[in-house]
Amino acid sequence: MSALDLAARALRAAEGDEAQALVQSERSGMARFAGSEVHQPTLIENEVVELQVVRDGRLGIASGNRTDDDGLRVLAARAAEAADSAPADPDFPGLAAPADAPTVEGYDEQAAELGAEDQARLAAAAIDASDLDLYGFFTSGVTEVAVTSTAGVAVSQELTDVAVLALAAVDGASGYAEQTGWRAADVDPAAAAREAAEKAGLTRGASELEPGSYAAVLEAPAFAELLAYFSYDAFGALGLIEERSFAFDKLEQQVFDERFSLADDALDPRGLPKAFDFEGVPKQRVQLVDNGVLQGVVWDRVTAMRAGDGHETTGHAPPSSIRHWGPLPFALSVGGGEADSPEQLAEAVGDGIYVTRLHYLSVVDPREGIVTGMTRDGTFRIRGGKVADPLVNLRFTVSVPQLLAELHGLTRERVLVNQNAYYDDRYPTGLLSPALATARFDVTGTGSGPGV
C-alpha cells in the first residue's frame, strides 16, 4: 500500500470536523563500521501515521505505527481526545488549501533497490580502499511522505538518499571525507575512503596553536555545519517574530560580504529535493541573503498568520514533533564563488589555518550569531599560501556574521553536505556549500590531537 493510500485510510478513520493525515515511511540500511569492520549494521522498516483533527475549533494530534484498521481507529480516538482536551487556538490558521506541488527529482530506482547485501558491499568497498583503519558508514534509504486532508490536499513523494562517511584514522592521525546524494551514482565509497586516508596521512605530528584571530579556509563540510547552526536560529520566522534571531532588526541591510548569497532551495536537483512541506504546502525557493544583503526568512502558515503584515507561507511547515522550533531552512544552498579549489583559497589567505571538519557545535548567543565548537580530522596551518603543517584540534568561538562579512572568497564548486544524523524518522536533508575563506576565525583554545 502506498503512503498516500494509507494516509487516505487514516483520514477516513478520523473523527473531527476537519482532519489531516501525514504518513512517513522508511526502508533503510546502514552498514556502520569501525576499525575497518562493520560493527553496527542496522536495517529499518517503519511507517508512521500522524493524524491531526479539528473539533469545534480545537486541534488534536496523535501518531502511531499500527496501520491496520484497529490501529487507525485507536489513533483517531487519541487524536479526538487530544482535540477535546485542548483549548481553542486563535492562531490556528486552519488546514492548508490544496495546491499543485512542483515536480521535483529526488528518487533514483537504483538507489531504491540497494539492499542489505549492497550496503555491506559498498561499506566493504570503502574499507578496502583505505590503507588506514576506516570508521564511518554506508547507508541508503527510501522514504515516502504523503499528506491528505479534508480540505482536499493529496500529495506524496518518494525520496531516495545515499551517503558514505569515511574517517581514516590511527593513533595520532585522522582524515575525513563524505559524499551524499539521492542517486546511487552520486556516491563513490572507495573514493571517499581514499580521500580520507590521504588527508589522514598529512595530519601526523600535529602541533598546538596560540589562541587568536586567524584567516582560515573552511572546506565545505566545515562551513556547512557552521552555517547550519547559525541559520537555524537566524533564518526561521519564529525566531524573527520572537526577537531572538540575528535577522530581527537587519532585514534589507548589507550585513555580509557582497560575495555571499544564500537561499533555501528544496527544489534544486543538486540537493535532496522536496516538493512540499509537512502540511502538503508546495515548497518555494527562498532567497535569504542576496549579495550580502539579508533578504528574509522561511515561513509556515502558523508564523505567517501570527506575523500578519502580508507574510505568507514559503512551504516550510515542520513536522509536529519539532513545531516549537518553527519553520526552518533544511535545504540551504550557498552561492558559489570564483576560486577553483580550496587550495586556491589558501593562496588567497596566505597565512592562516585550514579546517576540514567541525565537531560538537553549540550556539553561545543566537542574537549575535556566536557559535563555538572544535575542529577535527584535518586541521592545518596555511603558510605562504600553501596548506602546511598539521595542527591539533582547535576550539573556536566565532561570530558567524563577522566571519561572513570578512570573506576572502568561495569556491566555484559546491558540495552537497549531509545534514542527517538519522535520529527518529528518516528524512534526508543536505546543505549545498562551497569551501570558504575568511579573514576572521577566532581560535580560543586547543584540544586533543587528530586520530582515534
Binding site: 483549548p87 553561545v364 572544535m374
Partner: protein, 476 residues
C-alpha cells in the same frame, strides 16, 4: 510479546545465528507544550515493534519490524542474519558471561501520568507561563511530558525479562529581549526541563508555578546585568550544570565502546585508554563518580539492560582515580573485566549501544553557602546555556544562563553571558569541594545523542554544587 521474542530468537538460530536476542517495545510518549499563552505542542506518539540482534561468525546483525506478529518476528530475524552474513567481520566477538536474566521490573508510580487529562496538563502549563510574565519577557513557554514503555527481552542464552518504565517531566523558560539583547532563564533545567522515572507526582513536585515569577524576573534582570568578565578565577557551579559537566566530561569518555573507537566517526573517542583503569588520575581526591542503574527515579534505572544484564551500582572514579568503565558484554569481555550492564537502545528500531545509565557526582559535605563562603573572589555559575566538548572529551566550553560575582565569600552582582572552559583532567583536578547530601539533586535529561542511526538516551545525573579553583572564565 514474550512468545514473539522467543519466536524471533528461534528463527534467528535456525537461520544460522550463533547468538540472538529480541526486544519487543511498545511505547507511548506525550508532550504538552504552551508558548505565549497558546498550545504549541500536543504530541501523542505511539510506536511498537520488534528488534532482533544476532551474532553470526563474529559479525553483528540487527533488523527490526513494526509488525508484532509471527511474520514480523521472523522477518526481522531473517534480515538480521542476512545482514550479518553480508558483512562478515575479521575476528570473533565474545560476550562476557552472565547468568541468564529472569525477572520483571516496573517503575514505582503513585499516579499514572496518562490518567492526568491533557486538559489538566495544558492548564498547568498555562498557569506556569502566566506566572513567568514580565514586561521585558517576550517569550514564555512551559512543557510537560509523559512516557510509558513496555519492553520484553529474550536471548538465545535463556534470558527472559519483562519491564515497564514510566517517565514524567517538565520545565519552564522565559526569554527576555530589549535593545538588541536577549537572555533566557529556565527551571528546573535548560533544554526542556528535567524528567524522572516516576509518576505524575514528580511533575507536581517541581513547583513550576511557584518558581515561575523568579525565573521571569531573572530573565528580565539579566538584560541589565554586566557581562561576566574573563579571567582565571574560582568558580562555584550549581548542581544542574555539574550534572552536565559529569555527563560530558566523565560519562562519555568512560564509555568503553567509545574508548575502543566504535563511535570515532561521529561522537568521537576518548582521552581515556583501557589501560588507564586503576591508575589514571581523573581529578582531585574530592571527585567520586558512581554509575548506578538502581537509583530511584533515575531515567537510567532498570531491572536489566538491553542485553539482559542486571542493574548495579559501580564506581567509575574513586578519590579522583579512574576505577571503572561503562560497558557492554562485548567490551567487558574485551577488557577482561566486568559483565556489561550499560547497553541501552532508544527504541525497537535501534541496536543497543553502551550508554550512561545514572551517573552521579557523589556528595561531599557542607552547604552551597559554605562553598561560596570559601571564595574570596570568583563566580557562581548556574543553569546550562551552551555546551561543546572535543571528540576525545578533553577541551570543553560551557555557557551558563546566569552568574553572580563572589566577593569576600558572598554573592554580589548578577552577571550575564558567562562561559567557562578547560581540559577535563585539569578541570577535575582543580575540584576542591563538593557540597553535601542536602544539596544533592537528581537531574534527568532526555536528549543524549549517540550512534548512527542516531539514538536519544534518557539519563540522570545526581550532583551537588561544587567549587573549582583556577578555572578560565570567558573566552575572549
Amino acid at each position: 510479546m514474550r512468545e514473539l521474542c522467543e519466536q524471533a530468537v528461534t528463527a534467528a538460530l535456525g537461520a544460522g545465528a550463533d547468538y540472538a536476542d529480541a526486544r519487543v517495545v511498545v511505547r507511548r510518549a506525550q508532550v504538552v507544550g504552551t508558548r505565549n499563552g497558546r498550545v504549541e505542542r500536543l504530541d501523542d506518539a505511539e510506536t511498537e515493534g520488534i528488534g532482533v540482534r544476532v551474532l553470526v561468525g563474529g559479525a553483528w546483525g540487527f533488523a527490526c519490524d513494526r509488525r508484532l506478529d509471527n511474520a514480523g518476528a521472523e522477518a526481522a530475524a531473517a534480515k538480521a542474519v542476512a545482514f550479518a552474513k553480508a558483512a562478515p567481520g575479521g575476528h570473533s566477538r565474545e560476550l562476557a558471561s552472565v547468568a541468564p536474566a529472569r525477572g520483571e521490573f516496573r517503575t514505582p508510580v503513585e499516579r499514572d501520568p496518562f490518567d492526568v487529562s491533557v486538559a489538566d496538563k495544558v492548564a498547568l502549563c498555562l498557569r506556569a507561563e502566566e506566572a513567568l510574565a514580565h514586561e521585558d519577557v517576550k517569550v514564555t513557554s512551559a512543557s510537560v511530558r509523559a512516557q510509558k514503555e513496555h519492553k520484553v527481552f529474550v536471548s538465545s542464552e535463556g534470558a527472559s525479562v519483562e519491564q515497564e518504565f514510566v517517565e514524567c517531566g517538565g520545565g519552564i523558560d522565559a526569554l527576555a529581549a530589549r535593545d538588541g539583547v536577549t537572555q533566557i532563564r529556565s527551571y528546573p533545567s535548560a533544554h526542556g526541563g528535567s524528567s524522572s522515572q516516576a509518576g505524575w507526582e514528580y511533575v507536581e513536585g517541581l513547583g513550576l508555578e511557584r518558581e515561575a515569577p523568579r525565573v521571569g524576573e531573572q530573565a528580565a534582570a539579566l538584560l541589565r546585568a554586566d557581562a561576566c568578565p574573563s579571567g582565571i578565577t574560582t568558580v562555584v557551579i550549581d548542581a544542574e550544570q555539574m550534572a552536565l559537566q559529569v555527563h560530558e566530561s566523565v560519562g562519555h569518555p568512560t564509555e568503553l565502546d567509545r574508548i575502543y573507537g566504535t563511535e570515532a566517526a561521529y561522537a568521537g573517542t576518548s582521552f581515556v585508554k583501557p589501560g588507564d583503569l586503576g591508575s589514571l588520575r581523573y581529578g582531585s581526591e574530592h571527585m567520586n563518580i558512581t554509575a548506578d542503574s538502581t537509583t530511584p527515579g533515575g531515567l537510567g534505572t532498570f531491572g536489566f539492560d538491553d542485553e539482559g544484564v542486571a542493574a548495579a551500582r559501580e564506581p567509575v572514579v574513586g578519590g579522583g582515580i579512574l576505577s571503572g568503565f561503562l560497558t557492554s558484554r562485548e567490551t567487558a569481555a574485551r577488557i577482561g573485566s566486568g559483565s556489561g550492564g550499560s547497553m541501552r537502545a532508544d527504541s525497537w528500531s535501534r541496536m543497543p549501544l553502551v550508554r550512561m545509565t545514572n551517573l552521579h557526582l557523589e556528595p561531599g559535605e557542607g552547604s552551597l553557602d559554605e562553598l561560596i563562603a570559601g571564595v574570596d573572589e570568583g563566580v557562581f555559575l548556574q543553569t546550562n546555556k551552551s555546551w561543546s566538548i572535543d571528540d576525545k572529551r578533553l577541551n570543553f566550553q560551557f555557557g551558563t544562563q546566569i552568574a553572580w560575582e563572589i566577593k569576600g565569600g558572598r554573592l554580589g552582582r548578577m552577571l550575564r553571558d558567562a562561559t567557562y572552559t578547560g581540559q577535563t583532567p585539569v578541570f577535575w583536578g582543580s575540584l576542591d569541594a563538593v557540597a553535601g547530601p542536602d544539596e544533592w539533586k537528581l537531574h534527568g535529561l532526555t536528549n543524549c545523542g549517540k550512534g548512527q542511526p542516531g539514538q536519544h538516551a534518557h539519563v540522570s545525573h545526581g550532583a551537588s554544587p561544587a567549587r573549582l579553583r583556577n578555572v578560565q572564565v570567558g573566552f575572549k
